[in-house]
């Protein structure tokens, strides 16, 4: 592996600045959606990515345009990390026709064809097969794309995780399995659902490589993932990454998170990925504390703008109700 040519993030001021601000964008976006949800301007389920920003941003820094990404319902962060228009993302969460999937999917179902974001899926573990399918298609078409499958540690006990690891290994599919272990699956701590919480050890049986990583540190994630993604792309051998992270909020907005202590939450907040990357920017002398804060302020203002835009955007027209059920024209259909 051409390890030498991969510079560490700390030595790439432009990228570090960009990735840091992506994390800030996600953080502010999510804070805003929670507020709007509490104001009942957003409905359904809303799962914030706050606390986990380093994972999505750090991993997807290595995504090439032809690569694919798939994840669970906790998908805003990855959508934004991929560079989908925040306006369209916000509009989607507000259920507007200007949303990325025309208000039909909502918060849990972000998709983007340009960037090969294959969802946003609501069923725990439902995304694994889709992810390996994208890798299969890349091999089929003799392209060189990698498929990133993000999932919570709560999906590890679902059989589908194992089926797809076996399949990806057998078929030599270029897949990166990324377990975002935020310690909880709803109200259940990982130790109560997994016979083994060292999730990267699951790789061994499938004869693929497993890696454990701190999920709260952007530059570490970025640096380690660079090599791994490169190797997967070259060897077409899947890899499993276990990232320990934490969601600062409840499972969804309606969860008061009483199953954990305030102390625990505080401990993890000391480890905030945004603080760390801000510190790095300052300590390396790339930016002043003021510049960092000014940019954050800009982001906050921008989010306010796009909330206003989303609120004033049109709902999907009623004609859309029965559109997009089938792609092909149907003759003689008859039902109600």
């Amino acid at each position: 592996m051409a390890k030498k040519k991969n510079l560490p993030l700390s030595k790439m001021p432009k990228l570090l600045w960009e990735l840091h601000n992506k994390m800030v964008l996600i953080r502010r976006f999510e804070e805003s959606t929670i507020k709007s949800y509490q104001q009942k301007k957003i409905g359904g389920f809303l799962h914030a990515y706050i606390g986990q920003e380093a994972v999505g941003v750090g991993v997807l820094a290595h995504k090439k345009p032809e690569d694919s990404v798939v994840t669970s319902y906790r998908c805003h962060g990855l959508g934004l990390a991929l560079g989908i228009s925040p306006e369209a993302c916000m509009a989607e969460v507000f259920g507007k026709v200007t949303g990325i999937v025309r208000g039909k999917g909502g918060s849990m179902h972000f998709f983007d064809k340009e960037r090969n974001l294959l969802g946003g899926h609501g069923i725990v573990g439902g995304q694994f097969g889709i992810g390996i399918g994208a890798a299969f298609a890349s091999n089929y078409k003799k392209q060189n794309a990698v498929s990133f499958i993000f999932f919570g540690e709560g999906a590890v006990p679902q059989g589908t995780f194992h089926e797809n690891m076996n399949m990806a290994s057998l078929m030599n599919l270029p897949v990166v399995f990324i377990c975002e272990d935020n310690k909880y699956a709803m109200g259940t701590e990982n130790v109560r659902i997994l016979a083994n919480t060292s999730i990267s050890e699951a790789a061994a049986f499938y004869k693929i490589k497993g890696y454990a990583m701190d999920g709260m540190n952007l530059s570490e994630i970025h640096d380690q993932m660079g090599d791994i993604v490169e190797e997967v792309r070259k060897t077409k051998r899947p890899a499993l990454i276990h990232l320990k992270t934490y969601r600062y909020k409840g499972h969804s907005v309606s969860d008061a998170a009483k199953y954990r202590t305030k102390e625990e939450e505080e401990k993890w907040k000391e480890d905030d990925p945004l603080f760390k990357s801000a510190d790095l920017l300052v300590s390396e002398g790339y930016k002043t504390r003021e510049e960092v804060e000014a940019e954050d302020k800009k982001t906050k203002d921008y989010i306010k703008e796009i909330v206003k835009l989303a609120e004033s955007s049109p709902d999907p027209p009623l004609e859309e109700l029965t559109q997009h059920v089938y792609f092909d024209k149907r003759e003689g259909e008859r039902w109600q």
């Binding site: 359904g44 006990p157 699956a185 029965t322």
Partner: protein, 329 residues
């Protein structure tokens, strides 16, 4: 009579049956320490302990299978699916094992199991979280299917389900959990297979279950003002169906509207309609009108979601159609 919520009614039913029979246990995601994702199992862990109130990983297929094996070994499991959308990953266990077991073993192993949880749409939970599973389950011989609309029925029928020696699919509705109703103070069990006449009228029969009963009741009240008297039936048990109750009503009203939250094609309403048409053909003064979810997956946007679902207005229009009282078109 006490007034309690559907949530409390379900909780009481489980609690009373667990107190009554040591072999009853409840298993599922978040049922124990979290007291249930929707708090149906509130307090049970404290009272009965970890042995009988069992948290699981997100492994629906496994804990459904476990419960089958436990039932074959003398226990009486209550399986909670956080929602029936997630029962899809356990579908093979439900159909291939639960529904077939008693028959396939020539009567050797019956499966006293209750599979329960939210069914259908909630509020804007979108495409993958809004399935109605009534007809899936009613299609397969070997299963009973129950779906109640109020607290009293929920309690009485869940108790019956737990006592049943056959598998019961018990379909709840998130939007009903917080609704209140009167419940008898003394212990009671409602027999599986008995429907309920919710209100009586001569002009038209409306059949509705679960959350649809809210709209059906509203519609009936509106229709009364318009001079149309509704015989309103809640089958409660969808399979076996209280056909005598329905039959009696149809013979009286000669007109029928069937409401269901789920989809139209092969919905439970298609079967109820077919029974009526087949057996009471000469009693009908109009074709039956069904009110059901529109023919699309459930959209997220609030307006589209509302347009997808049956409503009081749609039920009224359907009644006007079968009674020929609507505006001339």
């Amino acid at each position: 009579m006490a007034v309690i919520t559907v949530r409390e009614a379900l909780n009481q039913a489980i609690n009373e049956e667990m107190a009554r029979d040591e072999n009853v246990f409840i298993i599922g995601e978040e049922v124990a320490e979290y007291n249930g994702a929707y708090k149906i199992s509130e307090g049970l862990l404290d009272k009965y302990g970890k042995r009988r109130v069992v948290d699981t990983p997100i492994s629906e297929s496994s804990f459904t299978g476990l419960s089958i094996g436990a039932a074959m070994s003398g226990l009486r499991p209550i399986v909670e699916y956080m929602s029936f959308n997630f029962s899809l990953v356990a579908m093979d266990q439900i159909i291939s094992n639960i529904a077939k077991m008693y028959y396939m073993t020539g009567g050797m192993y019956n499966i006293p199991i209750v599979l329960r949880g939210c069914n259908g749409a909630a509020a804007q939970v979108s495409s993958q979280h809004s399935h109605n599973m009534e007809s899936f389950f009613a299609h397969m011989p070997g299963l009973n299917v129950i779906s109640c609309s109020d607290a009293a029925d929920s309690k009485g029928l869940l108790k019956a389900a737990i006592r049943s020696n056959d598998p019961v699919i018990f379909l709840e509705n998130e939007m009903l959990y917080g609704t209140s109703g009167e419940v008898p103070d003394e212990e009671y069990v409602i027999p599986i297979g008995k429907g309920r006449l919710v209100r009586s009228g001569d002009d038209v029969t409306i059949i509705a279950h679960s959350r649809m009963m809210i709209y059906a009741k509203e519609a009936a009240a509106e229709l009364e003002k318009m001079g149309i008297q509704v015989d309103l039936i809640d089958p409660r048990t969808l399979k076996p169906l209280d056909y005598p109750l329905i039959s009696e009503s149809v013979k009286k009203t000669n007109r029928v509207v069937i409401v269901e939250e789920g989809h139209y094609w092969c919905g439970i309403g298609s079967q109820i309609a077919e029974f009526i048409y087949r057996d009471l053909f000469d009693y009908l003064d109009s074709q039956i009108i069904r009110v059901a979810q529109s023919e699309n997956p459930m959209p997220y946007a609030k307006g589209l979601e509302a347009a997808s679902l049956p409503s009081t207005k749609k039920i009224i229009e359907a009644v006007q159609q079968v009674t020929y009282t609507g505006a001339p078109s």
